[in-house]
Symmetry: C2
Subunit: 277 residues, 2 copies
């Protein structure tokens, strides 16, 4: 039987683990669609310049992973190795970054548009974070994040967040998965960075935490930050508000494994029953 393994922040999932991840993703997607979200797929790389528009490089330069190829003039050296690691001087300037969250691409997709009503989008993406340590499925360098994004008036976005807070909480209760809902500062934003003060002023993030500090989902209210930066405007011409609910799918696997065991024969039925499916 093929087995799952995690090494150095990178996970291989066997059929059982992959099956549970797919089931969860289908469930969260269905929640998104029931809330009016369009399923979409976004590019797997972002431009470094697009991330700069979100103050990304100012706020967490240490977390980002960049993507670039070998420098055309240094191909012979790149071929020659060593290949345990490849020296930066053999590389071209980096124009792309690996996404650290799924929703950035959604705001970039809507950039420059004027909404004629609220826009809801759901997407899953592989996200990457360069951490100082990794821990099984709980903390990975590369992981899957399903999001349901809402773009519109302030009240519409806050209702989206409230509805998903209720939905996640009810599902976890029925499933018997104890979750604490905790206000959080966004771990993306470094201490003393521009956003931190804003976050202290407004409760912009709540996390759904299993056991010892395992945040498996979060709801996020960005006020009109992305609306301003991406020039997404409301029908009245003002900048749109945005918010999202995000599910860290491998972290759900870690929590479910801890609570029930991923190979428990009744796990699928438990999940479907808790979801009322």
């Amino acid at each position: 039987m093929p087995s799952s393994e995690t090494r150095g922040g990178l996970a291989t999932l066997g059929p059982v683990e992959l099956g549970v991840r797919q089931l969860l993703d289908q469930l969260f997607t269905a929640w998104g669609q029931e809330a009016g979200a369009d399923p979409m797929a976004f590019p797997p790389l972002l431009r470094t310049s697009d991330l700069a528009a979100f103050d990304y490089w100012t706020n967490f330069p240490h977390l980002g992973l960049l993507a670039t190829g070998g420098h055309p003039d240094r191909v012979a050296e790149l071929s020659a190795g060593p290949h345990q690691e490849i020296a930066p001087e053999l590389l071209s300037p980096a124009q792309y970054a690996l996404p650290s969250a799924t929703c950035y691409a959604a705001y970039l997709h809507l950039a420059g548009s004027r909404l004629d009503g609220p826009r809801r989008i759901t997407a899953v993406g592989t996200c990457y974070r360069r951490e100082d340590h990794y821990d099984g499925l709980r903390r990975l360098m590369g992981f899957s994040m399903r999001e349901v994004v809402c773009v519109g008036e302030r009240e519409t976005v806050l209702e989206h967040i409230a509805a998903f807070t209720e939905r996640v909480t009810t599902f976890a209760d029925r499933l018997g998965l104890p979750l604490a809902v905790e206000a959080a500062t966004d771990p993306f934003f470094e201490k003393d960075a521009a956003r931190t003060l804003m976050q202290q002023l407004f409760p912009v993030k709540r996390e759904f935490v299993y056991g010892e500090k395992l945040a498996i989902a979060s709801v996020n209210f960005h006020r009109n930050f992305f609306g301003e930066r991406c020039d997404i405007t409301l029908p009245d011409g003002g900048p749109a508000f945005t918010g999202c609910v995000a599910f860290g799918l491998e972290r759900w696997l870690a929590a479910l494994d801890d609570r029930f065991g991923l190979h428990a024969p009744d796990l699928t039925d438990r999940i479907l029953a808790a979801a009322g499916r």
Copy 2:
């Protein structure tokens, strides 16, 4: 209605396009499972040293995309910008590469194992190729590749390839999607590189080509190359043979769009009927 767009080799898929991609992926996955393949998910990054074991850097140093973070000593400069592109001297040595094919990770997963029978695995992954030009969904920097891999005796692998050649051909015939089956050298391997001679000696790759040179799938016989390099052994102790069928999902979208239109209301029914589902 949300729309698809492709810019600079990166695609955004709207609900219709994403729905067709999912339908195709489910179909190809089912084919794999019917052939005895275990569905798995592999890491989204590979180690540069693992790729070196496959002569990757010797054979196509120009195609690879590397992933690395900022250098810890240069964080302030990384923050300061400019961010249109990030200078290589601000980066750490690269220890990871973005996959250019889904199946490499499968052979690495099986590395060091002795088989007690054939092993079949199916997986989908985002793959990356740095090209000198991009062309809509036909040629992307980042795209989705579904593979069905077979590892075992030579004859078993050749039967796997023959069965999938038949399956793809029959499906395309019934669908009314004209495909030419063409012997190919692997475009991965540079002229004059080590593998090219081998490929001229053995017909190791066949491509399913739509219209003007759009290869939407391929079957590949690697002889015992990956078995040797990854120390995957047969029950008799010899190196295992490997082969795979690979589907470029966005290229299928491009071909189906050209032939039928992706928004044709009967496209899903056509695909399901051609697949006998």
